[in-house]
């Protein structure tokens, strides 16, 4: 059976349409005069400067899961299967085509010919298997959850289980370089999400020579882990459209065009990533023409950005933000209280005042673009009078609740948690609750208090999809008991487990829709938003294609004029 998987989970998402508009405005191309450094081939170099929120951790793709590292890595390295820009559709990457055996245990990848790594080494099946074997043979601290998160998500365990937290078994069997351009991946058990997972940058194929020469050590340094290997900081070699030039930590990370790129040559000569942690400072740097783009635009700044001749680009929503209930508390075991809260929150009011126009009120724990979304669910109306009635009917008298929100953090579904808290707290107080605010920094305190210790009563949390599968949303929340939700509903868990094991697509979809209805009826919390995270892009930039999973190809970008 030869499946050329191209369709699968196509998401009909607003792709590059909106952003090519409004690219007018002869804004000055920015920067103070003496940029220098023309690379010889005539004219000013086309330099794209991205204002990031912090430096990458390392450019060793296998070790990271944070957005800033992945953004840089995505331009330098490639994976066997790739994403169609602006979608979550899986398309050929370094593998031109592939076959999956009927039992789902063998994946045969036919590799692209004539690809070389940035260090001049040839790309071939041996290189592919070298990378897979490297990941599988991670030891010690490399197995910790924050280092190899995505490997553990997609493949489970390692050759040995060194940490107590290491998954005991692995889905990975072996990788064989059948011939120069054929790599065969053998699994120990089938996985319906494998290809969707392999598009993630942590599965980037790097030059074996660079890996060996640079070194990939992780050391325990004091209380924390340190990336001491030179690979990913000094030696960086992938196959992508841009190659690594230099990295001055805290200041700038520079990439330049890979002239030997196998695909279409990028228009840009150079990309510079410049860390500017303060969001207001990023906006001002864009206005002054010092950067060409940044992520995490405040909805309030849209007007200022557009009137400056710059563009606001919306990422398709692929997230959910929710007010969670800790259902182990007696007050939340009273169904009327849960219903009362869902009617008391003025979600549309909050979204109108503080979210970008593309944000929509959520009524399920997964975004509408995700298959498995139940179209027939209407959602709870904002109705404070009904909420007061429900509270009266509930018989509860002690209406004091702790409401937790994270401090100093901006999440895609919640650019300003404090504003969300303040707005919802006012709504809840208006119907008779007494709200006690609780706030701590996002990591580690908030996540530990809420997700680790289940200390929350009411709390703000959310999720951004890693890949397009409903299990990545509702499965994460409700398939197992979670301390933050503090409830165990056999019906919901049964449905979700059944859906995960099911291999027939139509049956899976039906199961997830049923599960979403059950979750909606139970009300373990109130989803309130599917946000469209915003990016700002300078007026003279074209081709910035927003991605629902935040993986954007900078080789599509060009600079006008």
């Amino acid at each position: 059976m030869r499946v050329h998987r191209k369709a699968g989970r196509v998401l009909a998402l607003t792709a590059a349409a909106g952003l090519l508009v409004a690219a007018c405005g002869g804004d000055d191309s920015g920067g103070s005069g003496d940029s220098g450094s023309g690379n010889g081939d005539g004219g000013d170099p086309k330099t794209f400067i991205f204002g990031s929120s912090e430096d990458p951790k390392t450019l060793d793709a296998a070790y990271v899961s944070d957005g800033e590292s992945l953004r840089v890595i995505y331009q330098v390295y490639e994976t066997l299967v790739a994403l169609e820009p602006g979608t979550t559709e899986v398309v050929p990457g370094l593998a031109e085509e592939w076959e999956i055996s009927p039992d789902g245990l063998t994946y045969t990848f036919h590799l692209r010919e004539g690809v070389t790594f940035h260090d001049g080494e040839p790309f071939n099946a041996e290189a592919v298997c070298f990378n897979f074997d490297r990941w599988y043979n991670f030891t010690g601290p490399q197995q910790s959850g924050d280092v190899s998160y995505y490997w553990q998500t997609v493949f489970g365990g390692f050759a040995t289980a060194d940490l107590e937290s290491s998954p005991p078994t692995s889905r990975y069997g072996s990788c064989d370089a059948t011939d120069e351009l054929t790599a065969t991946l053998n699994l120990t058990e089938p996985s319906s999400a494998l290809l969707a997972g392999l598009v993630l940058p942590p599965f980037s194929i790097a030059s074996p020579k660079a890996i060996e020469e640079g070194g990939t050590d992780i050391e325990q340094a004091g209380d924390s882990l340190s990336y001491t290997g030179g690979f990913g900081s000094e030696v960086v070699a992938g196959t992508g459209p841009f190659k690594f030039v230099s990295w001055e930590r805290g200041e700038s990370l520079t990439l330049e065009r890979n002239d030997d790129y196998w695909g279409e040559a990028p228009a840009l000569d150079e990309i510079i990533f410049r860390p500017i942690p303060d969001p207001t400072a990023r906006l001002q740097a864009l206005q002054a023409g010092e950067i060409d783009a940044y992520e995490g635009v405040n909805a309030a700044d849209i007007g200022a950005i557009e009137s400056n001749g710059d563009q606001v680009v919306e990422r398709p929503a692929f997230n959910v933000g929710y007010v969670g209930f800790n259902n182990k508390l007696p007050i939340f075991q009273n169904e009327k209280i849960r219903q009362a809260i869902s009617h008391a929150l003025n979600r549309q009011g909050l979204l109108d005042a503080a979210y970008p126009e593309g944000a929509v009120v959520a009524n399920q724990f997964l975004p509408p673009e995700q298959w498995g979304y139940n179209q027939s669910i209407e959602g709870y109306e904002y109705d404070p009078d009904l909420a007061r009635q429900l509270i009266a009917d509930s018989g509860e008298t002690n209406l004091t609740l702790e409401f937790w929100y994270p401090a100093d953090v901006s999440r895609p579904y919640m650019p300003d948690p404090q504003a969300v808290y303040e707005s919802f707290a006012a709504d809840l107080q208006a119907v008779g609750f007494t709200i006690v605010p609780k706030t701590v920094p996002w990591t580690p305190d908030y996540l530990q208090n809420i997700q680790g210790d289940g200390l929350g009563q009411l709390f703000l949390l959310g999720w951004t999809g890693d890949y397009a599968d409903p299990d990545n949303f509702v499965g994460t929340f409700f398939r197992q008991d979670r301390p933050e939700f503090g409830f165990s509903d056999p019906a919901i868990q049964g449905l979700l487990n059944e859906a995960l094991a099911e291999t027939d697509q139509a049956a899976r979809q039906a199961l997830y829709e049923e599960a979403n209805q059950a979750i909606y009826d139970y009300i373990p919390g109130v989803p309130f938003v599917h946000n469209q995270p915003l990016l700002a892009v300078a007026g003279h930039i074209t081709g910035y294609t927003p991605s629902p999973v935040s993986l954007e190809d900078f080789d599509l970008i060009d600079i006008e004029g």
Partner: protein, 305 residues
């Protein structure tokens, strides 16, 4: 005594010698004639009155978000007859929030000052009165506290204690402990050889009686001066901590530093939302600073000409 010179307050060598009673009256007279002092006192007066009578002055509750439906991202209604300073991004009346914010700022200033001064004075008296190893021990401790620059120290303390108004007040107070401790110890040592102390000693009056009846009251003026300046600093420092994310856990309760920090997010679309609390902080702190500095001068004989 080499250690003293490391402290700015003593290095300035402006610690006044004991003014006799007539000199105190003379100082007050000069204070009232000093335009800077008068401006300062007016500012303090307004600030304190606003804080006390906030519910009477403010037209609305500071947490009433009834005007949320008038707000769109980046578009916040400006000053109008109903809302003198406009509406904030969460649909609340800005003027009412500024008025009520005076309470929080005054509270932070006063409590931080009181905590810091009491602890510092206690340590200073302990060191100055007993001398010897007690003095060494206390001053070593003070040295350790002073070895970290004030703001940094406050940041570390506030970060450890977590998000709450109390932790902000404690953090600011802790920074002031060594300053007051030094001030008091210096005063005590300075007065140890003073004639009246020697006289009291020779009369056989107990040490504690000398300390509490004579030395302490005589150290009162420099403490007042330092206290006024500390109040100003506390208000400004609270804003700095808020900017670093260290402030009360309840953002709905208006506090100027927090409002100023939150307004940075809408700086481009609504800069005035930052200007109001910013101006409030500057004026309140300036009031205390002007009075403190004028007082220091009025008490210092060298400024008489």
């Amino acid at each position: 005594m080499s250690v003293e010179t490391t402290d700015a307050t003593t290095a300035t060598a402006t610690t006044p010698s004991r003014p006799p009673a007539s000199l105190g009256r003379e100082a007050l007279r000069r204070l009232v004639r000093n335009p800077m002092a008068v401006v300062g006192m007016v500012l303090i007066g307004v600030f304190v009155l606003v804080a006390i009578f906030a519910p009477l002055i403010a037209p609305y509750s500071p947490t009433d978000n009834s005007w949320l439906d008038q707000v769109r991202p980046g578009q916040y209604p400006g000053p109008s007859a109903e809302h003198w300073l406009g509406i904030d991004p969460l649909g609340r009346d800005v003027f009412s929030r500024i008025i009520f914010g005076a309470r929080q700022s005054l509270l932070i200033g006063v409590v931080a000052l009181a905590l810091g001064a009491i602890a510092g004075i206690a340590l200073g008296v302990l060191a100055g009165a007993f001398g010897g190893w007690v003095d060494t021990l206390v001053m070593r401790f003070v040295d350790i506290m002073l070895s970290v620059p004030g703001l940094l120290f406050a940041i570390a303390v506030a970060a450890m204690l977590g998000q709450s108004l109390t932790s902000v007040m404690i953090a600011i107070a802790v920074v002031n402990v060594p300053i007051f401790a030094r001030l008091l110890r210096g005063e005590m040592l300075g007065q140890r050889g003073a004639d009246y102390v020697l006289a009291a000693r020779s009369l056989g009056i107990s040490r504690s009686a000398i300390v509490f009846r004579h030395v302490l009251p005589n150290s009162f003026t420099p403490v007042i001066v330092q206290g006024t300046l500390t109040l100003a600093l506390a208000i400004v420092e609270a804003a700095g901590l808020a900017f670093l994310g260290l402030s009360s856990s309840n953002p709905s309760t208006p506090e100027w530093g927090r409002m100023l920090t939150d307004a940075q997010e809408t700086l481009t679309s609504a800069p005035m939302l930052a200007v109001y609390p910013g101006l409030a902080i500057v004026l309140a702190a300036l009031g205390f600073t002007l009075v403190g500095e004028s007082l220091r001068e009025a008490l210092d004989p060298k400024f008489r000409r």
